[in-house]
Amino acid sequence: MSPDEIKELRSTIAAMLESSPDDVLAQLDELGWDDLVAEEPQAAVTTLFEEHGRLLGRSAILDGVLLSALGIEADAVVYNAVEKDGTVTGILIGAPGGTLAVPALRGLVAGEVATSPLPNFDADLSWSRVSFPAASVTATDADWDAAEAAAQRALAAEIVGIAREMLRLAMTYTSDRHQYGHALAQFQTVRHRYADAHAANEAAAALLRASFATDDPRLSRAAKASAGKAAEISAMHSVQTFGAIGSTKEHVLHHYVARSAVLDSLLGSSRDLNARIGADILESGTVPILSEL
């Protein structure tokens, strides 16, 4: 897609997310989303999820990415599933009920699922906690690695969208706010923080673009880890340079800080993914080479 076409797609998506945030899936269908993803996966997925992040969308479109890559009929996805003493607990973004895909266990579960409200670092989100007996999970043959990778790329895009927005908000604010007779953004320490955040955000965005060009799931993990780190850096510098206002409920910044943190936790946090990638390298003795220009 040309830069102009992407720009147009971006504003179409933004308008859609702003006008009907609770009806995103139907709207995407109307847009002919599946065809677009089939033709231009990188441009389509990154644009949608960057905007979903930037506009703090709460829809379960992530489930859609994972399930369609899986090619299995299911109603929602259980994230971060952990098994203990025969019971599995996990997180549900979508509505409870029906058949649930459990990527961590490579299987499906239907029925016997208990649902409860989930207190969340991001108080805007009404995700639920689910729990069910491990024995009720039916192991299912599918390309789970590829499906996870697709969802990790989508998450990376959403997190990059949020990271860029935090940086933009902070730069706008400190370009207007004057102290000691100057705009805050005129002070070197502030400017250098933003340069570092920008470098981290754009490195993550470049790795994300590259991860669409390969089937190697390790690159999608790396892209998500990179995005998580970038958001942490952008959040740190934005919160600091906003001064006290940035930590108030009244101000919008906390929404982005919290949202990027909880999205980072899904399908492997940046720290977990780093450790997993490192373990792969140390065990296999090979470093995945990216040689495509």
Partner: protein, 384 residues
């Protein structure tokens, strides 16, 4: 299938990749796998042998114009050369770093000089030094004082340069100096190609803390340089330097990212698989992969449009963070094995060298400044 012609390879970078890769797979470069030498002059000469072999067999002669004695092709060929060498685990000779920076401005602004002088450099028989920095002009290049004064048939150069990489043993010096008034700042600069053995040039090694003479001071005492050795017009030095920096920032980050990927693999092979090591190695891999993705985009932009914008400072900033980051990880994960004993002399040596990577070519602080000013368009910095 008949073997492709030189013109076909020059026109098709991916074909070049195939040809080069099979040449490397035949083991032609294997003799250079372990090229580290305590004496840097010895190491550079040794690696010059690899440059020569690559050039003479043809696979190292792409990326430079036919007029300069090479086989044609563009900067994408160079990017592929660096890529395939690091993929094969062969060290990238230092010659290429300097060539990639100094070659393009010569070809662009002084094609006659390129025709006359570039070939021995391309062939690894010689290497050149880049003399830009001065004791009173580091990242602040526009305040340089070394001066070329017009005389009959050329100029007389007087002054002092410092931090010239591989200055010791260099055959020629690419000099940026003042031809206008001191007040003219960046407008009054010009660039020259000097023979290092010209009367009045004195090159003195600077040992880095690792003991290697990686850098040099270059003194100019009434050195005559003929007019035809000027690169570009008088007063054009700053724009040529800016042109050159695009390659230094654009292609260099790509070249080094391949080296760093390889270096990370070497480190991984040496450390115990502790939880700390997994996290450190994993995070560094993610960062190198991101830099590499970014640098590939920049290298493509350079190949397609012949220019990269201020965004290349992002690549440069990330590169410095990783050069230091990987060597810091080596020091941390190898512990006593890093500090003591014969086995890890190369890691100790490179740790010191990595400290210079956030300084040379414009310090990290100067890169942040460029990003803040010209990429993020923040209001201008206050002097407070």
């Amino acid at each position: 299938m008949s073997s492709p012609t030189e013109a076909e390879i020059a026109a098709d970078p991916e074909l070049y990749r195939t040809v080069l890769r099979s040449w490397l797979e035949e083991g032609n470069a294997d003799a250079w796998r372990d090229s580290y030498r305590e004496d840097i002059l010895e190491e550079t000469r040794h690696l010059g042998g690899l440059v020569q072999k690559l050039f003479d067999s043809g696979v190292g002669a792409y990326g430079w114009p036919v007029e300069a004695g090479a086989l044609g092709g563009g900067s994408r060929h160079l990017a592929i050369l660096f890529d395939e060498l690091s993929r094969a685990g062969i060290p990238i000779p230092e010659h290429y770093g300097v060539l990639t920076t100094l070659g393009p401005p010569l070809v662009q602004y002084a094609p006659e000089l390129a025709k006359q002088f570039l070939r021995p450099f391309l062939r690894g028989e010689e290497w050149w030094g880049q003399s830009f920095s001065e004791p009173e002009a580091g990242s602040d290049m526009a305040s340089m004082r070394t001066r070329a004064t017009p005389v009959e048939g050329g100029y007389r150069v007087n002054g002092q340069k410092i931090w010239t990489s591989h200055g010791v043993g260099a055959s020629r010096i690419v000099l940026l100096c003042r031809t206008g008034t001191q007040e003219s700042r960046h407008k009054g600069l010009s660039m020259f190609l000097l023979d290092a053995d010209s009367p009045g040039i004195d090159i003195r090694p600077i040992a880095l803390a690792n003991g290697r003479n990686e850098l040099a001071e270059v003194f100019f005492d009434d050195v005559f340089v003929p007019t035809e050795r000027r690169i570009g017009q008088e007063g054009e030095g700053w724009s040529i330097a800016m042109y050159l920096l695009q390659f230094e920032r654009g292609l260099w980050a790509w070249l080094r990212s391949g080296v760093l990927l390889h270096k990370l693999g070497e480190l991984a092979a040496k450390v115990e698989p502790t939880e700390t090591a997994k996290k450190r190695i994993g995070e560094l891999y993610v960062d190198v992969a991101a830099l590499r993705a970014r640098a590939a985009e920049t290298a493509n932009e350079l190949a397609d449009s012949g220019a990269v914008g201020p965004g290349a400072s992002v690549d440069k900033l990330l590169l410095g963070q990783l050069e230091t980051g990987i060597l810091n990880a080596a020091r941390e994960l190898l512990g006593d094995d890093f500090l003591f004993g014969e086995d890890n002399a190369i890691w100790r040596s490179e740790w010191w060298w990595s400290r210079t990577t956030t300084i040379y070519g414009g310090a990290a602080e100067a890169q942040r400044q460029i990003i803040a000013d010209r990429v993020l368009n923040l209001p201008r910095e206050t002097n407070r």
